[in-house]
């Protein structure tokens, strides 16, 4: 198994190297004009020529690639064309709020998605199953960006219960000192014990949190259901049934355990989806996260920022998949 995990880690590294290479060449092969972007809209040809020199765009592609990779190994993601700040520094402030949303959605996916899939499989083709199936397929069919607008309409415009967007009320931001420990506001305010801020932060995270959770909940429920259905048809479950074991015991102890591999993979996958969903949702809720950052980057063709976010999300995706594979590898049936 050690050999397997080692192989998987090597593959993960290879994939990351590939992702770096592909994104690099994408930005160079596809039509875009970084130099013009760098100097701004009213640049003279001389200024653009100077920018091409500064950005090293006049060198052969392979030399550019070498510099890019060497810088990357030093942890240098380049400088944003728009703000002229190092991309890494910018990402550091944008990552925690996104992480906060992703964490919330993952927790929801586990505590709602798994039981939903479980009961759906248990009561296959009964009313509950139809409901659960409908719900889980419905949740993965919803356009997240639209759900965001819909929730804003209901809870902000009609019921006037929750704020439209942002992380904190502007007035409260002036009245209190906002703690900065992890960068995840709900945690920070809770740790420092500032209840006014905590409640306000919570109010702000409810809508984006729900929006982002729907997809993972649906996906996890759907996959848990189909994995369980497959397992429930296996001989060892029939054997357990013929021993007279209680249905619930069989379901929770014997069947669920064997479906956890699938669930783990799906969970890892769904975090990947969630990461990208934040691109659409954060902009709507004015949430200061990576998604908001890349939306503006995409609009202004700020390629160092785009590559930075791509690398960040691809590496977390690769790592998550690696974790899922290792969890599966622990399963004795896969062990070689």
């Amino acid at each position: 198994m050690k050999k397997y995990i080692f192989k998987r880690i090597l593959l993960g590294l290879l994939v990351l190297a590939g992702v770096v290479t592909i994104t690099f060449f994408l930005t160079r092969v596809l039509p875009s004009n970084p130099a013009a972007q760098w100097v701004g809209p009213r640049a003279t040809p001389e200024q653009i020529a100077a920018a091409i020199k500064t950005l090293g765009l006049d060198k052969p592609l392979i030399v550019q690639y070498k510099t890019y990779v060497l810088n990357l190994l030093k942890g240098d993601l380049g400088v944003s064309l728009r703000s002229k700040q190092p991309v890494l520094t910018e990402l550091k402030t944008y990552v925690p709020p996104t992480l906060e949303l992703v964490l919330i959605s993952t927790v929801f996916a586990v505590i709602i998605g798994i039981p939903l899939g479980l009961y759906s499989a248990k009561k296959k083709d009964k009313l509950l199953d139809h409901f659960c199936r409908f719900f889980s397929v419905g949740a993965v069919s919803l356009p997240t960006f639209w759900v965001a607008l819909f929730l804003q309409l209901i809870f902000y415009r009609w019921l006037q219960l929750l704020p439209l967007g942002g992380q904190l009320d502007a007035k409260l931001k002036l009245m209190y000192e906002v703690p900065k420990i992890t960068g995840m506001l709900t945690f920070d305010t809770l740790i420092t014990g500032n209840m006014t801020l905590f409640v306000d932060a919570l109010k702000h995270i409810i809508l984006p949190g729900i929006t982002i959770s729907l997809y993972p909940i649906g996906l996890v429920a759907r996959m848990t259901r189909s994995a369980l259905l497959e397992i429930l048809g296996e001989d060892y479950i029939k054997a357990a049934k013929s021993y007279g074991l209680k249905d619930n015991l069989i379901l929770w102890k014997y069947a669920l355990k064997n479906s956890l591999g699938t669930t783990a993979t799906v969970l890892a996958l769904s975090v990947g989806y969630t990461l990208v969903d934040t691109f659409l949702v954060e902009a709507i809720f004015n949430w200061p996260g990576v998604g908001n950052y890349i939306s503006t980057a995409v609009m202004s063709m700020d390629y160092p920022a785009i590559i930075g976010v791509t690398l960040l999300s691809a590496s977390s995706y690769v790592i998550l998949n690696l974790i899922a594979d290792i969890i599966i590898a622990v399963d004795p049936r896969v062990r070689t």
């Binding site: 593959l11 992702v19 960006f145 309409l153």
Partner: protein, 296 residues
């Protein structure tokens, strides 16, 4: 002898089909989903004929009628230029379905040959192609499509291409697995022994025999692809105004929806129901065609 065998084959295929149809009928949700898909296809085909896009909807601006709530004149209300949202939503069906089918088709055209070659040759070629596939799968879904679309420039065709370029690895994986086992089968061995060129074997023997699971996967993917197109258009990287594309409509509605709820609700519902119907059908098809889940 030969005719007898092929007759038997047809008969067993027919029995298989009848069993599948029976299972489909038994599965209420899937049956309704199938009707839904038929209805959507009809809308997509017929509406552009009776409602010529340019005359009625894309340029039909009546500033006098802007942002009217739903009424008997305008079932879904009107948008900021006074265009009828109901007509635009109907026209959007064609755009979404057409681009989704195109994107999936292109992804299959890229993915299937790569998978077949990898599975047939095995060894180093296999390793190389499959690691390449792994790299493409290393991007979180949607992200690669967004990045490619961003660099290609905002346009619906570019977005379709971008989706195809990020979606093909899924088909490669399926086909490769099939191709590996097909390569060991007697008919392929026989073809090899007769000196049939590899390219011909792949085209005539491998690919036709692994197309069925690809079709099933494709039917399951259509919903996701429709959603992806809407998302890319929502970001402003897909369809451009005045195209009546659903994602773009929701995106434009962002400036008005707090006072004109109908503007974002209806195009969004259109996306939701379309994707839902395709997902329900895909889900049901998988359940029917997969003997593992069928036996309970």
């Amino acid at each position: 002898m030969n005719t007898y065998n092929s007759w038997k084959k047809i008969k067993s295929k027919y029995a298989q089909l009848r069993l599948n149809i029976y299972l489909l009928k038994k599965n209420t949700l899937t049956k309704w989903a199938l009707y839904g898909v038929v209805l959507l296809t009809l809308i997509a085909l017929i509406v552009p004929i009776i409602l010529p896009e340019d005359v009625h909807v894309t340029q039909d601006a009546n500033p006098r009628d802007k942002l009217l709530p739903p009424s008997s004149d305008h079932l879904f209300g009107t948008d900021e230029l006074g265009r009828d949202i109901f007509k635009r939503v109907l026209l959007g069906t064609n755009i979404s379905l057409r681009t989704a089918v195109l994107a999936v088709g292109a992804a299959i055209l890229i993915g299937v040959p790569i998978g077949a070659v990898a599975g047939y040759y095995g060894g180093f070629t296999d390793e190389l192609l499959m690691r390449l596939t792994d790299i493409f799968l290393g991007f979180p879904p949607l992200l690669l499509a967004i990045v490619i679309a961003a660099f290609l420039g905002p346009d619906l065709n570019n977005a379709t291409l971008a989706i195809a370029l990020s979606w093909w690895p899924w088909y490669t994986r399926i086909v490769r697995g099939q191709a590996v086992s097909l390569t060991e089968r007697p008919f392929v061995k026989a073809a090899q022994a007769m000196g049939t060129p590899s390219a011909r074997i792949i085209l005539k023997h491998i690919i036709p025999n692994c197309i069925a699971p690809v079709i099933v996967q494709a039917s399951m993917d259509i919903g996701g692809v429709i959603l992806t197109i809407a998302a890319i258009s929502f970001l402003g990287l897909g369809a451009q105004p005045p195209t009546p594309e659903w994602g773009l409509m929701v995106s434009t509605s962002r400036n008005y929806f707090l006072n004109a709820w109908w503007y974002s609700i209806f195009p969004g519902l259109a996306i939701f129901f379309t994707v839902l119907i395709f997902n329900l059908l895909g889900d049901g098809l998988r359940e029917i065609l997969d003997p593992k889940t069928r036996k309970n």
